[in-house]
Assembly symmetry: C2
Homo-oligomer: 470 residues x 2
C-alpha cells in the first residue's frame, strides 16, 4: 500500500497525497444526515486531466476503489470516502477555462463552484441558471447528481444545461463528449448518460455549460395559505397561467418559522395572518422589462387571490432576496434542529397535494414529525423527517418512497441515490432497468473501482461481497 | 422462413404481415436522398406493446434483423428496411393514450404524428413545441432521431421534452423509463440514452412528453441582408438581446426563391431590395400579450437595422405563417430541383459565418452548387448539395463534415447518422466514444438484430461481415 502512495505522490506531487490524521475532517463526509464520516486511504488532489488519468490507471491496476468528491455538499452519500480507497478531490482543478460570450458558453474544471462561476458571469450580463440550494456546490458535483434547485421550474436541471464533458474512464482513458453546440444527433448521447451517474461511470474533469442572458428585473411574491393542499393545488394554475415563474416554492409554516428566525428576517406579515397560515407559496418573477414584471406580478396576485391565498405580499427587493437566501439554508436549519433524514421524492405535479396529505398520515403512524418545503413547481418535495429511532425512521422512509413510486413518481428528484437511498432504489426500481444500468456500469468500469456500491449496489470486483450482478 | 411468417401472423394477425409485391412502395424507403429502396422480408404491423414484444422475441430467437419505422420522414436511412429482415411499422399504434392537462403531459403511441397530437392540443391551449419540418413525422421517429426543427432555438429538441418511454428490448423484455415528472436523479437516465439511438437499442412503444401553454400571439419578421456572413453574425446579437425568438432561421436567396415560388407566395419585397439580397433572416416572436410581442418586434427591428439588414419587414400573419410553412418544405423543393445530398452539421453558433464561407470554397473546389437554410439560432445549418457525381460529392461531404468537426461541431444536428453518414461518423468520431457506444449496443442488443449496421456499423451477429467490434 505504501507503494501505491509513493506512486500517487509521483503523479500529483508530494503535498497532494494526504493520509491519516492529516486528512481534514471536511473530506471525510458530505452533507448526508445518515452517513458516518470515513477517513480515506488517501486523499488525492489532482491538478490536471492527465493526473486524473494516471491516478485512475494506478487504481485500476491495483483494484483500489476511487470516490470522486466535489464540494461535499451532496445529500445521498455518493461522495463519502471508502476507508480502503482513494478520495479524489478537485481543490486544484478550479479554473474557469473559458467564458465564450459569443456562444454563451462556459468551460470549467470540476472544482469550480457555482458562486465562483456566477461572480465571473454577472458582470457580463450572463447567468448559469441552475441553482441548487448550495452555491458552494461544484460543477463536477452538480454533474454527478444532475443537480436541480429552485430555478428548475423555469430552466430545467443540470442535464438541460451541460453541452459537453471531458471525463476520465476507469481505465485511465480520456473521453470527450458533446461540445459548444446546443443540439446533436450523432450517436448515443454519452453526456446525458454520464450526468447523474454519481461518480460510478467516470470521473469528470471538464464541464461545458450553456449560459443565458441574465434578467435585470426580479420580484418576489409571498402568499400565505390556510392549508398545504391549497398551496399544492394552486401550482398547476400558476404554471398554466403563462407568467412563467423562475422560482415556485412551497414552504410550510414550521420551515418558514425556522428559516426566517435563523436569518433574523421579518417579512412584515401581520400576526393574525401568521396565525391562520399553514403554508406559504414563494414565487419569483423575472424579466428584462420592469413594467412587464410588474404587470405579471399584478396578474399573479389576482390569481393567487382567486386560488385562496389569505393575502399576497410583494416583498421589497432586499427582503425578497433574503427570503430566497434563507430558503436555500432550509436544509441547514433542519439539520441544526436535529432532523434525522430527508426525502426529495419527485412526483407528477398534480399528485403533490395527495402525496403530502398521505405522507402526513404515514408520519403520524410512524411517530415522526415531518416538515417540508420544496420545488413544488416541478413536483419535487423536500421533506425533513424527525424520528431518531432508526427502525421506525426506515419504515417511514420506505413507506414514503413506496408512496412516491406508486403515485407515478421517483425516489429522488435531485439529490441522487448514492448510498443513502440504495436499498429503497434497488427494491422499487424496475429490475429490467437495474439490469441494464448494471450492465452499463460494467461497460464503463469492469473492475467496479468507481464509487463501489453506490447507486446500483455493484461491489468492487473481488471485494468479497459475493458475485457480480448478472 | 415461411415458418417465421406463420409465427408472425399468429402474433399480429393475418393481415398485418405483408410480403413481396404487397408491400406498398412507401414502406421501402425514408426520405434519404442517397439510399435505395428495399423491400423487407416482411412488413409487420403490431397493434400493441405485447405484440411488439412477441415479434422481437421471435426475431431474437431466429436472428432476424428488425428495422423500426415511424412515418418514413427520416433523412439518414435508419428506417430503410433490410431485405432479410422485419420492418416494424406503427400504423396500428396511433392512439393518444392520455392528455393530462393538469400535469401538462401527453402519453402517446409511437405512430402518433405531430399534426395529430397538435390537433388534440390546440383546443386545450397546449402545445408540444418540438417542430421538425415535417408535421407528418411520428413521435416514435422523433424519439429515434432526437428530432429538432425550427423551434429548437427557444424550446430545445426532442430530448428536452420526452419525460419517459416504454420500449421493448431486443430480447422481448419491456422497459419503462421516467414518468410524468420533469426531473429525476434516480439512477442512470435510460430515457436520454435511448433518445437519438435511431432504433438500434430498443423499439419504442410509448412516449410521455411534456407540454406547455400555447402562445396566442405571434409575429414574423423578415430581414434581407446583402451577404450571408452578416446574417450569421447577426444571430448571436439577437440571441443576447433577450427577445427570445421562437424561430430564428436563415434562408439563402436560392432557397428563398425556390420555396416562395413552390408555395406561390409573394412576400411583397421590392425588386430592388431582392436584387441586393443574398440571404434572409426569418424571425418569429411569440407570446401571450399582443403589446409585448409588438414591442419586441420594434426592438428587434431596430437591432436588425443596426446589424446591417437592407430592410425589415413585419409580415402580415397570413403570409408569415405561409413563409414558415414554405420553409418547412425546403427539403422537398430542393429534392424536386434535383439536389443530391444534404448536410445538417451543427456548430458553435458563432462559427457559422466562417463555416459557410469555407463551405462555399469547398463547393467550388468540388464543382458543386450548395444552397442553404437552417436553424441558425441553434447552430444547425441545412445545406443542399447539387453534385450528381458520386465520387466528387462524397469528397465534398467528407470535407464538409471534417470542417464541421474541426470547427468544434458535430456531423448531424438533428437528422441522425443512420446509414447515410455512417462512414463519416466512424472516421471522425473519437474512437473511445465509438467503443463505448458499441459496448452499450452490445448490452441492449447482444445479437445485433436492431437496425444492424446503422449508427455504429455493428453487424447482425453471424452475418458474415467479419467479427464483432471489440
Amino acid at each position: 500500500m505504501s507503494q501505491l502512495l509513493e506512486q500517487l505522490r509521483k503523479v500529483v506531487g508530494e503535498g497532494n497525497v494526504v493520509t491519516g490524521q492529516a486528512v481534514h475532517a471536511d473530506y471525510t463526509h458530505d452533507e448526508t444526515l445518515t452517513a458516518a464520516p470515513v477517513v480515506p486511504l488517501a486523499l488525492v488532489l489532482p491538478g490536471s486531466t492527465d493526473e486524473v488519468s494516471e491516478v485512475l490507471t494506478l487504481a485500476a491496476e491495483q483494484r483500489v476503489p476511487v470516490v470522486a468528491r466535489g464540494s461535499g455538499t451532496g445529500l445521498s452519500g455518493a461522495a463519502v470516502p471508502r476507508a480502503d480507497g482513494i478520495l479524489l478531490a478537485f481543490d486544484r482543478m478550479r479554473r474557469i477555462r473559458e467564458i465564450d460570450t459569443e456562444n454563451q458558453i462556459a468551460v470549467v474544471e470540476p472544482g469550480v463552484t457555482l458562486e465562483q462561476l456566477d461572480a465571473e458571469l454577472a458582470p457580463l450580463g450572463l447567468i448559469y441558471p441552475v441553482s441548487p440550494g448550495e452555491q458552494s456546490g461544484s460543477l463536477g458535483g452538480n454533474v454527478a447528481t444532475n443537480a436541480g434547485g429552485m430555478r428548475a421550474v423555469r430552466y430545467g436541471v443540470t442535464r438541460h444545461h451541460v453541452l459537453g464533458l471531458e471525463v476520465v474512464l476507469a481505465d485511465g482513458r480520456v473521453l470527450r463528449t458533446g461540445g459548444k453546440f446546443v443540439k446533436c444527433s450523432s450517436g448515443y448521447d454519452l453526456t446525458q448518460l454520464l450526468i447523474g451517474s454519481e461518480g460510478t461511470l467516470a470521473v469528470t474533469t471538464e464541464v461545458t455549460v450553456k449560459l443565458q442572458p441574465r434578467f435585470t428585473q426580479s420580484s418576489t411574491v409571498l402568499a400565505p395559505f390556510a392549508d398545504l393542499a391549497q398551496v399544492a393545488e394552486a401550482v398547476p394554475h400558476i404554471v398554466h397561467s403563462g407568467v412563467d415563474p423562475s422560482i415556485l416554492e412551497y414552504v410550510d409554516v414550521l420551515v418558514m418559522a425556522g428559516i426566517t428566525q435563523a436569518a433574523g428576517l421579518d417579512l412584515g406579515i401581520p400576526d393574525d395572518v401568521k396565525a391562520r397560515t399553514l403554508a406559504y407559496l414563494v414565487v419569483v418573477l423575472e424579466g428584462m422589462e420592469a413594467d412587464r414584471v410588474d404587470e405579471d406580478v399584478q396578474r399573479l396576485g389576482t390569481l393567487l387571490d382567486q386560488l385562496g391565498a389569505i393575502d399576497v405580499y410583494v416583498l421589497p427587493s432586499t427582503s425578497g432576496a433574503q427570503l430566497i437566501a434563507a430558503r436555500e439554508r432550509a436544509f441547514f436549519v433542519g439539520k441544526a434542529a436535529g432532523c434525522d433524514d430527508l426525502i426529495d421524492a419527485v412526483l407528477p405535479r398534480a399528485s403533490i397535494p395527495d402525496y403530502l396529505a398521505r405522507l402526513a398520515v404515514l408520519a403520524t403512524e410512524h411517530g415522526a414529525l415531518v416538515t417540508g418545503c420544496g420545488h413544488i413547481g416541478d413536483g419535487n418535495v423536500h421533506v425533513t423527517v424527525f424520528q431518531p429511532d432508526d427502525e421506525r425512521r426506515h419504515a417511514l422512509m420506505h413507506a414514503a418512497f413506496e408512496l412516491a413510486v406508486s403515485s407515478g413518481g421517483a425516489i429522488s428528484g435531485e439529490h441522487g441515490i448514492g448510498t443513502a437511498k440504495l436499498p429503497y432504489f434497488l427494491e422499487m426500481q424496475d429490475p429490467v432497468a437495474v439490469d441494464l444500468m448494471r450492465a452499463i456500469k460494467q461497460v464503463f468500469d469492469p473492475s467496479g473501482i468507481l464509487g463501489p456500491e453506490r447507486v446500483l449496489g455493484v461491489p468492487l470486483v473481488g471485494d468479497g461481497h459475493g458475485g457480480r450482478p448478472a
